[in-house]
Each structure stands twice: as C-alpha cells, then as structure tokens.
C-alpha cells in the first residue's frame, strides 16, 4: 500500500506538467486575448506595449518555456486582468474560501445523502424509501441558481434567520453550504441506496441477522462498509465538482472564492490567472482522487492494487 501511494505521488509530477502544457496551449486557442479592444477603441500601439509587458509578443514556444521555467520555480506570474496582485497571491487569498465552502457542502451532502440513502435501502418500496429519497431529489430538481435564491428569499429575507450575502460570520456560511451541498446530497443518497441494497441482499448479511445481531449493528458494522463503495467512488468527482462548481453559489451569495475568479479569468482570457487556478484545482483533484482510491482499498479488502 505504501509503495502504491508513493508511486501515485511520484506520478503527480508528470501529470501536473502535462496538464500545464495542455492548458497553456488550449487557452490560447480561444478567440480573443486579455488585451484587445473592448467596447472602446484602444490604439494598437498601446496594446502592443501592454502585450510586451506580459511577454505576449514573443513567439509561442518562447512564452511556453518561460512560463514552465517560472512554474518550476513556483512563480505563477502576474494576473493580467487584476494587476494589483500576482496569481499566487490571488490563489492564497481566494482558495481557502472555496475550499471551506466545498468542505461544508461535502459534509452536508454526505450526511444528508447517506442518511436518506441508507434509510431508504432498509425498507425498500415503502414510505421510508420514497420520502427521504424524494427529499434528496429536491437537490437535483432545483439547481443551485434556483435553490440559492429560494433559500435566500425564505430564510434570509422573510424569516431573517441569516444574512443575504457575504462570508464573514458562521451565519453567512449556512445557506451557501446547503445550496451547494443539496445537489450532491441527491447523488449520494441514490448511490448509497443502490449500494446498500446490493450489500444487504448478500449472504453474509443474512448470516449476521441470523446470528441475532441488532439491525443497527448489522447495518452500521457490516453493511455500510461495502454499501458506501459507490459513494466513495463518486466522492472524487464530487469534490472536483464542488470546487469548480462553486462559481454559481459564490455569485449568488457574494462569496470571495476562487470559483468566480476562475470563470472570470476564462472570460477575460487572463492566461496566467486561468492557468494558475487550473493547476491549483488539478493538484486538489489529484490528491482527492488518491485519497478516494485509498479509501476504497481500505473499505473493500478484496480490492488489490497490483
């Protein structure tokens, strides 16, 4: 297992470099650039000068090598669209917020989803199945841009339990976490239900029940481990989705996270900011997928990574 982990970690580096290269060229394929005429005319001489400052007039392979050289030194470059800070400074400023939001949302989705899914699997095709599952489905029926404003209208404006926007106090964090987590709660619930179902039908469960173990023990001690396997598989993509998908929630609740910055960088063609954000996400995704794979191996001893 340790060898496996070490090998995976070593594998991060080439993957990372491949991603950097791929994205570097990919974003330059998109039409337009960070510095071009906007709604107002800008003299071409001025544009030339600006582009010079950011090395955008050099031949592409030169730009590439310069960037990779800086990257290996840990320098992600200046932000083209928001010059008051460098890309690294922006990431350090904004990423913790997105991670925090994503973490809360993940907790919400796992707690709500597992609860609903496991309960539903215990008594299939009864009310204890339909009700929690239907509630969990609300998360998908109402996408974030619907659920967010609805929650704000109800809980923030009408009931005044929470503030409308911002990210300062704990009260600010509830509605965004719920909004973002609700979608994934539905996924988790359904996957958990399916997974638990399969496990509960197995022989060793019947044995456990025959032995006289309490239902709770059977479920939690024996079934859960195998039952949540599809959920664990899903957590990798879920975490990735939470991080990159937080953009809408950040917009609705005015949260100073990386998601919105990332999407804006794409629209503004802020090459350095975009690359920096992508690489940051890449590291997180790779790490999280590794954790998920480890968790899978731990949960199911028959899984062998050879």
């Amino acid at each position: 297992m340790t060898r496996f982990i070490l090998r995976r970690l070593a594998g991060f580096v080439p993957v990372f470099l491949i991603i950097a290269t791929l994205i570097f060229f990919l974003i330059r394929m998109a039409p337009g650039g960070p510095f071009q005429e906007g709604e107002r005319f800008v003299p071409p001489e001025v544009l030339e000068q600006i582009r010079d400052t950011y090395n955008l007039n050099a031949p592409l392979h030169v730009q590439y090598f310069d960037y990779m050289r800086d990257l290996l030194r840990g320098d992600l470059g200046p932000s083209m669209q928001q010059p008051s800070r460098t890309v690294s400074e922006w990431i350090v400023l904004r990423a913790p917020v997105s991670i925090e939001l994503g973490a809360y949302a993940l907790v919400v989705s796992v707690v709500l989803g597992l609860f609903a899914g496991v309960l539903a699997a215990l008594r299939p095709n009864t009310l204890t199945d339909y009700v929690p599952m239907s509630l969990a489905m609300v998360g998908i029926c109402l996408p974030t841009f619907v659920m967010g404003p609805l929650l704000v209208l109800g809980f923030a404006l009408k009931l005044q339990w929470f503030p409308v926007a911002g990210w300062d106090t704990a009260a600010h964090k509830v509605l965004p976490a719920l909004t973002l987590g609700a979608v994934y709660a539905a996924y988790v619930a359904r996957l958990a239900r399916g997974g638990m179902f399969e496990v509960l039908a197995q022989d060793f469960i019947r044995t456990a029940r025959a032995k006289g173990l309490s239902e709770a023990r059977v479920v939690l001690r024996h079934a859960l481990r195998g039952g949540i396997q599809p959920v664990v598989s899903f957590l990798g993509p879920a975490a990735a989705g939470l991080l990159t998908g937080s953009f809408v929630v950040e917009k609705i609740f005015q949260i100073p996270g990386l998601g919105k910055q990332f999407v804006e960088a794409a629209f503004n063609r802020d090459y350095t900011m975009l690359l920096g954000a992508v690489l940051f996400y890449a590291v997180l995704i790779l790490a999280f997928n590794l954790i998920v794979d480890i968790a899978q191996a731990w949960l199911d001893p028959r899984v062998r990574y050879d």
């Binding site: 998109a30 489905m137 239900r193 399916g194 997974g195 599809p230 993509p237 890449a282 028959r302 899984v303």
Partner: protein, 292 residues
Amino acid sequence: MTEAAVPLLEAGTSLWRDAWRRLRKNHLATFALVVLILILFVVVIGPWISPYSYETQDRELGAAPPTAKNWFGTDTLGRDLFTRILYGGRISLMVGFCATAVSLTIGVLYGAVSGFAGGRVDSAMMRVVDILYTLPFTIVVIILTVYLGKSIVLLFLAIGAIEWLTMARIVRGQVVGLRNKEFVEAAYVMGLSRSRIILRHLVPNALGPIIVYTTLTIPQVMLLEALISFLGLGVQPPMSSWGVLIQDGAKLMEEYPWLLIFPSVFLSLTLFSLNFLGDGLRDALDPRMAKD
C-alpha cells in the same frame, strides 16, 4: 415418456426477460415509465396542436399569469409559456438522452477496460481521466463554438465529452471491486475472452450504480445545456429549452413565479420518473433479487 411430452417447468429465460417481468410487477416503476412516455408524447405531439408558436410575441401583454388562453401564462415578451415548454422539452429530452448515451457508452467502456486491466494500464487510463477533468469547461466550449460552429450535434458531443469522465470513474470503481470475485475467475478459467468477460459479465454486474448514475446524469445534462447556451453554443433564441427556461425563470421568480414553476415541474417530473424507473430497473436487474 419422451422429453417432448413433459413441458419444461421453467422456460429458459435470459437476464433481460427476467428483469422485464420483475419490472412490470414494480408498480411505482411502471407508473414512472408511463409518466415518461406521456411526457414524451406531449412534447412531440403538443407543438403541432398548439395554437401558438414558440415565438409569437405579444409585447403589450408581457408576462401574464395563467389564464384560459395561456394555460401556463406568458413570458416577458408575451409568448405562451406552455408552448415554449413543449418545444423546449423536445430540445432538452433529445439533448438529455443523446448526450447521456454518448457519455454512457464511452464512460462504461473506458471504465470497465481500465478497471479490468488493472496495474499500470489502469493507472495510466485513470490519470488521463484526471487530466481531462482539469480542463476548464468554459474554455473548451468557447473553443468548440468557434472552431466547429453551432450545431446541436456538437452540443451532444460537448456534453457527452464532459460527462463520461465521472461515469468512467464510477464504473472503474465497481469493476475493480468485482474483478477479483469468483465468477470472474470462473469465466476466465472457462476460457472466455477478456472482452466477453468485460461485456457479458462485469458490466452487467456493475449495472447498479451505472443505472443510478445515468438517471442522475440526464437532468444534469439538461441543466448543463443551459450553461452552454449561455456561452453561445446550443439552442439559439427564440427557441428555448427547459434548462434555459428555468435559468431565465429563476431570475424573475419573485415577479413572475410561474415562469420558474412550470418548467421546473416538467423537469422534476421527468427527473422523478427517470429515477424511480431507474431504481426499478436496478432492482429488476439484480440477479440476487430473484424472489421468485
């Protein structure tokens, strides 16, 4: 007594016929199937019999709540919402099913092969998935629009190309778990080719989460389509889709709630039916569920 004279107690049956029989017995799933067919029917036939077109404007009327003339009300340009939902349904369902089919095919095959192969091949294949994951979606779509125009087929491909990644991960997870089970070893020993093992034995056993995830992907895809239209690819105004209708309706939910409620109801109905049907399918296909 010859063999012919004794009727076989159980006719030889395949997994699928068995499943169909079980599915029919599941009342909720059958009901869900009926609802889905109904929605499909309404969405296909409806536009032909509606007195309105999806683009007939009545700007003086503007956004009006439901009346006898406009059953679901009108939008801000005075267009009949019901008709627009029907037309939009065509787009959404088509995109939903087709794009999901694309992602399903690619994802299942990729994930199964990766999971079965194991070792370095599996590692490499999953790293490719990781790499593709990090591609900024917005940029990819923008590039696609520019270099390949605006066809609806492109829309399927774009969406399918995004969604298959997660499917592959899930399938691979399942297969990795099943790979070392006895029945796989048995099939191997019996001399079955690897592709046959993958297709005939592993995939069907991994079907549970696959079905569940598929039924979840379809509405996800429909909403993704709204985002893509935002970027200029996909459905162009005045034509609309459920995703776009919901997105636009969400912005006006306080002033004109019907603009959000009705498209959401349609999406939710489709969603719920798909999921109950999916659950029913999952239950029906589970060989261990043979209670008869």
